[in-house]
Amino acid sequence: MDISNFLLMRQEIMLLSIVLLLIIAEIFIPNDKKSSIVHFAIFLFGIHTILGFVGLSEGSLFGGSFQTTKLVYFFKNVLNVGVLIVLLQSADWIQEKVVKENKGSEFFILLFSSLLGMYFMISAGDFLMFYIGLELGTLPVAALAAYETSKRISSESGIKFILSAALASGAALFGVSLLYATSGSIFFADIIPTITASNLTILGFVLFFSGLAFKISIVPFHFWTADVYEGAPISVSSYLSVISKGAAVFILMILLFTVLKPLMYIWENMIYGLTIATMLIGNLFALRQQNMKRFLAFSSIAQAGFILLGIISGTQLGATTAIYFVLVYIFSNLAAFGVVQAISLKTGKENMDDYNGLYRTNPKLSLVMMLALFSLAGIPPVAGFFGKFFLFTSAASEGYYLLVFIAAANATVSLYYYLLVVRAMFIRKNEHPIPFFNSKIYMRLGLIVSVIGILVLGLYSPLYDYIFELNGFLNQ
């Protein structure tokens, strides 16, 4: 094999080298200068992100178990940008809290390993690579969720996550083995011509699907979400809510639209029900949440329901919109988590009532939060509106008018609880508001990037056209 073939894996190799570099740095940097590792990690990852955009070559490796296309590159770049924002937003927390406990570099190592797993999962050409990626993407997150060892709730969330994740990936693995039993191959390309809707195949598919549904937190696989989000450090919650969810959506879409396309008449009915359940349950539970992290957890469940609207249509338009929506969702949700993170870091307050009167003391943060929430709720002119409108359009294009109506009604319900936060920040008065504070440069940068994303993604249409061209292969 030619060495240049490995260039197809260069994003994986680069990320792995970053992890190794960080391990070396951990050994050689003296303990009193450990906080510089934060700059080092962010700098390396920034370069990695930028390099991801150049020199895209397509192809496959290892007899087809690793494959990469322009679309896959795009997915990885989206994840990279998301992770970069997460890093920027958590830099202050790591410097102030984590480095003191002398585990700063481990945070990055674990996070990047998890991201590496996501890469392999998206690039998978067979179920083996897929499963390895899934596991590598999941296990480090459990350690991250339990990262604040001094807090009981954090350890609890780590345990909860690892137990439910193990169960989910067990189910997925069982599903994969059944699919192998019926088709005789684990390679996607070989499965496509032989797949038939036998009972065993359907059982395998359902089990496999539930494994991924767990990652996306689709109802009824969502029970871990709120508890884990609440207990885990905010950086980890935001990583779980956008990156891990986004990666799972990407691979689910690829599989549904290629390998499992012959079963579409089965999975579209299944997804129809799951969409409604996910939106409804997510919304209803979000209505009464006081803790901002739990609130965002249920909101992210509801958003997962909306993403399914794009998948259900089974068309190129739907796939494009789902990808676009995930991109928009990453920016919007990260902006919201960023504000929660900034406030929690300075004051330790995480409840909605604490946000009362925030606009009077911290107008900029409140505006960022408002934009993020409007984007999540789907209010123009921010990006979320376009994402939602296109999702509705793509579902309606296949005649799902009733589903669109239910979804639109759910969007109105979700507007209610997003407005509750706006009400707290802008309308309510507070005798002891959160005092004015300035965030550090990384946090600001993280918020600015997300806000730019929220504002630009919607109004700037060529990006959508670009994604549309990328996933032409899904339109078979």
Partner: protein
Amino acid sequence: MDILSLFVAVPVLTILGLLLTKGLAQARVVSMVGSIVQLGMAINLVFAYFRERAVNDSVMLFTRDLTWFENFNIHYAIGVDGISVALLLLTTIVVLAGVFISWKVEDLPKEFFISLLVLSTGVYGFFISLDLFTMFVFYEIAVIPMYLLIGIWGSGPKEYSAMKLTLMLMGASAVLLVGVLGIYFNSNADGGELTFNILEIAKVNIQFEAQKLFFPLTFVGFAVLGALFPFHTWSPDGHASAPTAVSMLHAGVLMKLGGYGIFRVALFLMPEGAMDWSWFFIILSATGVIYGAFGALRQTDLKYINAYSSVSHLGMVLFALLMFNKTAWNGAILQSLSHGLMTALFFALIGMIYGRTHTRDITKLGGLLKVIPFISVIYVVAGMASLGLPGFSGFVAEMNIFVGAFQNEQLFYRIATIVSVSAIVVTAVYTLRVVGIMLMGKVTNPEYLDLPKTTWFEKTGILLLLIPVVGMGVAPLWISDMVMDSIKLFMQ
């Protein structure tokens, strides 16, 4: 930049300018300048419209079309006819008057004016849009600032009212969304491309089955904003809690989006569906006309009285639109304009009375004519316009509506018309009741004897609205011609 895009660009620039200001004094001056420029542009547009109309007889003038999202065939398509020009002019007047009335906003002035201008941007954009998507975007942009405007600067149960208003209107937009998508996916009925462009879709005959399904959705989606009974409940609560300028814009302009949207989208694109459903919505709107009038009769809070009166007057607009008759349609548009000016005037006056007496309960007020004569006299004038006295805008509008409506010879339409006309009598009763209790008689409360005089900015705001009310009544022809021309082209 073309003459129409400026209507979106100038408010946006004003908002950007406002971001740089500090304090009330700067904020109000910047918004005043921006609004005056808008008014100038609208007046200029009226003249430009007449010049262009003389040589050009296409339905829409000053059209412009830029591709936005290629895959959905979404365009930034704009253009105006006489109806939109008239409504744009109305909007600019009300916005400017609103800025003058809010001259003394103490709390967060910058944010107040920004929200106000975001709202007006949405309204301008809505009136110039020829693309359903663009129209929908602007519709939502116009609605959402209401939440902050009522929530932050409102009074009374403001959190409740703001939430109720926003959720009802956004719920309506969810219904509308399904209607819009239904139109979009049926716009290739003759084998063409899917499109959101209103003029393109109008050329296509959407299948009757689809029209029957999507007309009511589109109609209700817009009609909630036009306070269709029984979806009007957001409006009285919203008005009562809103600050003065917001009530003015809300009743004067925002509620007009409903009638305009029904005319431009629901009726224009799905006429057969409309015919099929008209009986049902005529019953609802006629009920609204009567219900609103009687509701106003029972209220003692000035704002509630006017809110219910708006329900009644806008019910007439919806009623007239469903008549499929040029005269009635002309009346509907004129009623929109007339009601917009008149209600804005009412709310401005109520704001001034409340600002001085600190109550809006008419049973506690009395003899105001003696202590604040300027406000009181104008109130009487506005009341006369509201009850449709000849010489004011309301008369021309209501005359057209009922003459047009009565031309339908079927018994059902006749009965509906007679029922609605009777609301005019009730209108006279509740208007005169307020005038009698609040303005005439002795001064009930000695504290009222030394109420402060009206200031220059209050007077400017009032006159801005009063002049067109009288002007439309005395010389209705030019505006009625403008509207009528467009309706004729529209019907072809």
